[in-house]
């Protein structure tokens, strides 16, 4: 573990190195980390793989023996399965590791990469595969129509609307009433029904409820007359034109739904489609890539703490916020939060910041979508949660050793 930590080069590596004073091996089962100052994020960073990979333990002796390329070709670890063969980018074959400390039910396990969703579903329908991930909304009915298949809707990332450059007084979204009117116009239930077969969640906060210091927020209402009244008060009785509404690729259909709903209060806009890499590049560049009046339908799923969300998506200079959403008062509070070692104070600041974002409609939460998967008839499962017991933190079937086939059960 000491070696893995010292050689870690992924996200937050610089932060970890700067804060760490020493790592001492106390015994075979104990490692002691010493820091230059209190480091409250440390446990979350170490324990949240999609935020920071420093917690992954790599076998040092083996890695040093085979080198980086050798390890990529034939990695070893301490899990329930050992790698038998891999066809890079296509297939990985595993075999149960008999010495594992828990029983491993499925002896041979293969992961196949199949880019086309319809083909993945066909594989499960035909019994060539037992689980398929990432099923788009248009295939829901096909799965529901087959009694042998089971749909596994895992609650995943949150979606929200944001208004780049709203700080500019000339931008119509500068007026809180306009942002509130947008929120009152969005029919979140209709979007959830259409996009996730109703299996997502219409929640209040734009931050997932499975992270530290997140606050609970009531569901938003849809009220077109009230929205129209607010638009009238803001000086836009007939609405206005928005240059583009851009949605995270390739979820374009949900962007179209928002565009169609916004027409009710006279906001006219068009959908801007772009490739994922282009979208990320533009988000990373900032406001100059989003001239005029724009709406972005953004989304993410991050683990750990609410602060990862704020820092990446809202804070001035953040990974995807850059100079698009700069609220100095909140950033100052966040700076105080980041340097505070008092848990009560941190909790209070986290609450205040989140409340302000929601009350001011800086972000307009839409829904939490469902990451849809399908389970085939061979797997032993009374309900989909039996195959996805860790669904609160992972969209994938895990732990693998708990999966059981009906024949071998």
């Amino acid at each position: 573990m000491k070696w893995s930590y010292e050689h870690y080069r992924g996200a937050s590596a610089t932060l970890l190195q700067e804060k760490t004073q020493a790592i001492d091996i106390v015994s075979d089962g104990t490692v002691k980390f010493s820091f230059k100052e209190p480091f409250l994020e440390f446990p979350i960073l170490m324990g949240t793989a999609n935020v920071c990979g420093a917690g992954w333990v790599v076998p040092a002796k083996y890695y040093q023996k085979v080198g980086k390329d050798g390890f990529v070709q034939k990695p070893i670890g301490a899990g329930p399965y050992k790698l038998v063969a891999q066809d890079t980018g296509n297939k990985i074959e595993y075999e149960a590791f008999e010495g594992y400390y828990r029983p491993v039910h499925v002896k041979n396990f293969t992961i196949v990469s199949v880019p086309e969703a319809a083909t993945r579903v066909a594989m499960v329908e035909r019994g060539e595969a037992d689980i398929a991930y990432g099923i788009p909304g248009e295939l829901i009915e096909r799965i529901k129509g087959n009694a042998k298949l089971m749909l596994a809707p895992v609650l995943s990332g949150s979606w929200w609307l944001e208004f780049p450059g709203f700080n500019d007084p000339k931008n119509p979204f500068n007026d809180k009433r306009v942002r509130e009117a947008v929120s009152l116009t969005v029919d979140r239930k209709a979007i959830n029904d259409a996009e996730s077969g109703g299996m997502g969640r219409v929640s209040g906060n734009w931050i997932n409820d499975d992270v530290e210091y997140v606050i609970d927020w009531p569901k938003w209402e849809t009220n077109i007359p009230k929205a129209k009244e607010l638009m009238k008060q803001a000086g836009f009785p007939d609405g206005f034109k928005v240059d583009w509404l851009t949605v995270v690729p390739n979820f374009f259909s949900r962007g179209e739904r928002v565009i169609s709903q916004l027409k009710a209060i006279g906001i006219q806009t068009r959908l801007q489609t772009m490739e994922r890499g282009v979208y990320l590049k533009r988000m990373e560049t900032g406001l100059k890539e989003w001239p005029g009046v724009q709406i972005i339908m953004n989304a993410t799923r991050m683990g750990g703490s609410w602060s990862n969300w704020y820092e990446g998506m809202f804070k001035c200079g953040g990974f995807q916020s850059k100079d698009m959403i700069c609220v100095k008062a909140l950033d100052d509070k966040f700076a105080k939060y980041a340097t505070s070692f008092d848990r009560a104070e941190r909790n209070k600041l986290a609450e205040e910041i989140q409340k302000e974002i929601l009350e001011q409609y800086y972000f307009v939460p839409v829904f939490r979508h469902a990451f849809l998967n399908v389970i085939g008839p061979r797997l032993k499962a009374a309900k989909w949660e039996d195959v996805f017991p860790t669904h609160l933190t992972s969209g994938y079937a895990y732990p693998w050793e708990d999966l059981q086939l009906k024949d071998t059960a």
């Binding site: 080069r9 992924g10 996200a11 937050s12 590596a13 610089t14 932060l15 999609n50 935020v51 920071c52 990979g53 980086k68 390329d69 990529v72 066809d87 890079t88 980018g89 296509n90 297939k91 196949v112 990469s113 199949v114 880019p115 086309e116 319809a118 083909t119 066909a122 594989m123 329908e125 035909r126 060539e128 490739e275 994922r276 890499g277 282009v278 979208y279 990320l280 590049k281 988000m283 990373e284 993410t300 799923r301 991050m302 750990g304 990862n308 820092e311 990446g312 200079g317 990974f319």
Partner: protein
Amino acid sequence: MARFIIRRTLYALVTLLILSLTIFMVIRLTGDPVTLLAEPGAHAEDLDRIRAEWGLDRSWPVQYLTFAKNVFTGDLGKSFNYDMPVSTLYFQRLPNSLELALAATLISFLIGIPAGLISAVKVNSVWDNTGKVIALFGLAVPGFWLGLVMILVFSVWLGWLPTSGQGSWQHLIMPAVALGWYFAASLLRLTRSSMLEVLRSEYIKLARLKGLPGYVVIAVHAFKNALIPVLTLAGVNLVVMINAAVIIEVIFAWPGIGRLLYEGIFQRDFPLVQGVVMEAGIMIVVINLTIDILYAYIDPRIRLTR
């Protein structure tokens, strides 16, 4: 002849230079790979470190010169996504693409050439019209649609064939038909027009006047000559099928070069996309150069007029 070969080789090198510049520029215009390589919560310093690690912090001219120098020495770089040499990935996938392309070529021959031949011999008949309809459908029906329909019918409903992947000969049937049908249609059209042209020529009239049986005139005299442009097209088609069967390989999860390219584009894997395109470009340029030289060798008029 030597001057001709030198001139054509220089043209080929210029073509590859332009191709390398184009793919280098185009892939960089599409987005930043670093945002895809980093975790969602990555900080600015993490992005800078990844950028430096992969040499993306250097200017474009410096990056291009390194890329060009490496290509010249046979090194296509290392894939961002797979962390493996691009040439290793390419040659791992090449046999799979070759297998699919050869099967599709065979299918395109079996459908396209006999149908084209019959269409030409029985011109303006029911046979000819049927051939035209086949050609029209082959060119008009998108491969991805045909592929998905075949999976639904032959795998899900009838249960005759596996849906996707590679393994037995059964795995090869649907992707080969879906890929080969389009090329069968183009071969059918070319065979038909080439045969019609040959059948109108003087030496065919002479063969008929000599009293040779119809099948001998068609099979020995006409078909042999009509086949030259058809085989040239089939050669080019084969190279295209090896390197660019992207949609079919994606639909059928066939682990070939097309799918490798698809994954490279989606992951902004610059070295992978550049490498695959350069390999394909070199293959096409070398084949064309060889054909040009062979034509010039066989027909001296070519090397004198060009």
